[in-house]
């Protein structure tokens, strides 16, 4: 069942078309990776979902309720972490965490204290003294300490160190285990790849690719690097083989999934000394979409 549903969502700022018919579903218990370059419309989509911006046309529902009309009701069950966390300089981190958790309708104090410990945050410091990473921790702790069913995370880890990044990923996996949903917008593709079940790629206000990670991988090519005893004659003639290059006895190419079988058959006849296959990465997928469309940033 879809927890979050967006249909043909558009948003105009004056004449600038920020969103141009976005369609997107997040199902219960799913971690949805929302990726795209700066200015593609990720944050605008999220701000519409939060009822901070009003959609020009189209529909967006969370828990089957209208995001604009029923914002307050919806917000009782969601947690939001922005990429750029703005805090009140004269309140302490602990005070801000409590304030946010309380405004969401409360959460467990034990959980909050545990998170403060895990993220290694000093809650007695005034927010003006916090670095970017520490400000993000405040928002993350408030989000995960609340009793929410949907977590909307907008580039939440851009200031965290690898250690804290790990704590964050554990938190996300933990809420997934409890059957909750996460919308994770991120630049860090390895993070999306590790955490997400489903991804959507947005460009110029439109979703250009979406689906389960596993399916999407089929669309991409596997990198193959092989050291052989003798040259392979017929490889170039096969369909679905790209970027074929030979350097001495070392051969490298990219293979579409359908061509893999035929390619390996040919290689095995030529005496394989060493064979390396690297799986398609999200980065390849991402780059292919962006390069294919002339850069496409903004």
């Amino acid at each position: 069942m879809a927890v979050l549903e967006i249909r043909e969502l558009t948003k105009k700022f004056g004449t600038y078309q920020a969103l141009n018919g976005v369609n997107l579903d997040v199902n219960g218990g799913e971690i949805f990776g929302f990726i795209g370059p700066n200015g593609a419309g990720k944050s605008t989509t999220i701000r519409v979902l939060l009822g901070i911006l009003r959609a020009t046309s189209g529909q967006a529902q969370i828990f089957g309720k209208e995001v604009w009309r029923d914002a307050v009701d919806i917000h009782k069950r969601i947690a939001y972490v922005p990429g750029d966390v703005h805090l009140w300089p004269n309140l302490t981190g602990g005070e801000v965490i409590d304030l946010w958790v309380k405004l969401k309708g409360g959460g467990s104090r034990q959980k909050r204290d545990l998170l403060v410990q895990q993220y290694d945050l000093d809650p007695t410091k005034k927010c003006r003294t916090y670095s970017k990473g520490n400000r993000q921790k405040v928002a993350l702790i408030a989000a995960f300490a609340s009793d929410s069913d949907l977590f909307i995370l907008d580039e939440p880890t851009s200031g965290l160190d690898p250690l804290m990044e790990q704590v964050f990923q554990d938190c996300v996996m933990d809420v997934k285990k409890q059957g909750k949903s996460v919308l994770l917008s991120s630049h860090i593709l390895s993070e999306v790849e590790r955490l997400c079940d489903t991804i959507g790629i947005i460009r110029q206000g439109k979703i250009i690719e979406s689906g389960a990670m596993r399916q999407l991988r089929h669309l991409t090519r596997t990198h193959v690097k092989a050291e052989l005893r003798q040259p392979v004659p017929g490889l170039a003639q096969l369909d679905g083989i790209h970027a074929l290059a030979a350097e001495g006895s070392i051969l490298s190419f990219e293979a579409e999934s359908e061509a893999m079988d035929a390619a390996i058959r040919q290689l095995s006849q030529c005496g394989i000394v060493k064979l390396e296959c690297s799986p398609p990465t999200l980065e390849d997928l991402f780059m292919r979409h962006y390069e294919g469309a002339g850069g496409g940033v903004r």
Partner: protein, 534 residues
Amino acid sequence: MLHPLWASTGRLIGIIARLDRLRALLWLLGIAAFTLIVPPALSELYGTQALRDEMAATMTNPAMTAMLGPGALERYTVGAMTAHQMLLITALVVGLMAILLVARHTRGDEEEGRLELIRSLPVGRLSWLGAVLVVQLAVFTLLASVTGFGLALLGVDSMDLEGSLLYGAVLGATGLVFAGVAAICAQLADSSRAAVGYAVAVLLLCYLARAVGDVGDMALSWLSPLGWVTKTSVYAANNWGPVGLLIALAMLLFLAAHGLNANRDMNQGLLPSRPGRPRASRFLQRPLGLVLRLQRAGLWAWAVGMYVLGISYGSILGDLERFLGNNEMLGQLLGEAEGVTITDQFIAMLMIVLALSATIPPLLTVHRLRGEEKKGRLDSLLAGAVSRSRLLGSYMVTGAGNGMLMLSMATLGLWTAGNAVLADGLPFGTLYGSAAAYVPAMLVMIGLSVLLTGWFPKLLQLNWLFLLYSFVVLYMGDLFQLPEWMRQLTPYGHVPRTPMEEMAPLPLIGLGVLALALTAAGFIGFNRRDLDAS
């Protein structure tokens, strides 16, 4: 060759001078203009020695001495009058200027991380502080010359060159002392805000110690640098001694600041930083609590300020009849009215001033919502289960409560002082009633700000212009003989001017309804519009 601790100070002086060129210039022009418009105005208002002696008589009371310090009341020339009424207050402003300029470049730049970059360059450990203080030396020398020569050039009889230069020198030297105070506080405090806070506290403490000393025990005012300011007796005895004292103290403070700075890590204060609360109090966990908490300090400061404003007006009520009877221009300012005592007339006028001043803090409160929006802090609040109406409502209610508190504080101050100096006393009920009549008008102003926040947030600041317009039209309307309709344009123009006029409920109800309508419209707008991105 400079000691390595001060390497590249010269270049840094250039940078700071460049950064502060406009800011310092505006302060300088403001203070100079403020100083130079007064003597001609006083010569105009109090043209004869008889009038000035009347004025001196009204000044002979402990309340005025506490506020302005001792003056040459026995020979109250225009010069002596200017020095008495203006010098200490101006010195206070100059002190504030010095604190803000220095704090900005010491802890301010440190906190923003700019100093870190500077210090990564081949620059000495003490160069930045040294450069900041050298720039202050230049700024306040300039201030002293501009005001000093400016005053001399006014050509007022009783204001000779020596007195004028002394006047300027006192101001400049006071500035240097508080630049030093700010530089030291910047070493002690753990944030730039705290540094400004400590320094301003020292400034106010100096003012207070001097007030207590001037009224009673004279020794105490010798402990306060602001006490030295009035000891100069400008345009009378022309005492240069205290200026020397001020400069010596400033140099001592500069040296001490350097010593402390040399032993301090960047971004650390020498005073141990107090940890804040690890948890939010129950009070803070609601939008209304948050709104109140965020402006707690400002609220106290304004409340005290309004009380002092009330006291200062109230303390002159005693000698009013005698004094105003002789002054045509002030009489005109009050407007003509038959069969009303001049005190009642004056109180009615004061009420307008107090009500307009008391509207400033509530408008600041309501306008903060827009500030929070622009800083991107509303997103996280609204992402919680808080409706826009509740958020706007919290600001609106805080604003309205704030306004009533401010008006009450001012009225209380007026009553405390007025009741003490008036022979027949001042009935509190009547006075408070006249003040309360302004509440609906104040709510209209708050409603207007709510309306703008809801529909035209970019135009929000225009409400300040409207407040200024109200002030000009109502305060000086009679003087300029402005037409009645201009008075009708502002909500305050519809308020019955008790105790001079009869109380009339109808306009008050009308204003109340208008305030309600504006506020309701504002809520509708705020619920419909997009919030701005940070």
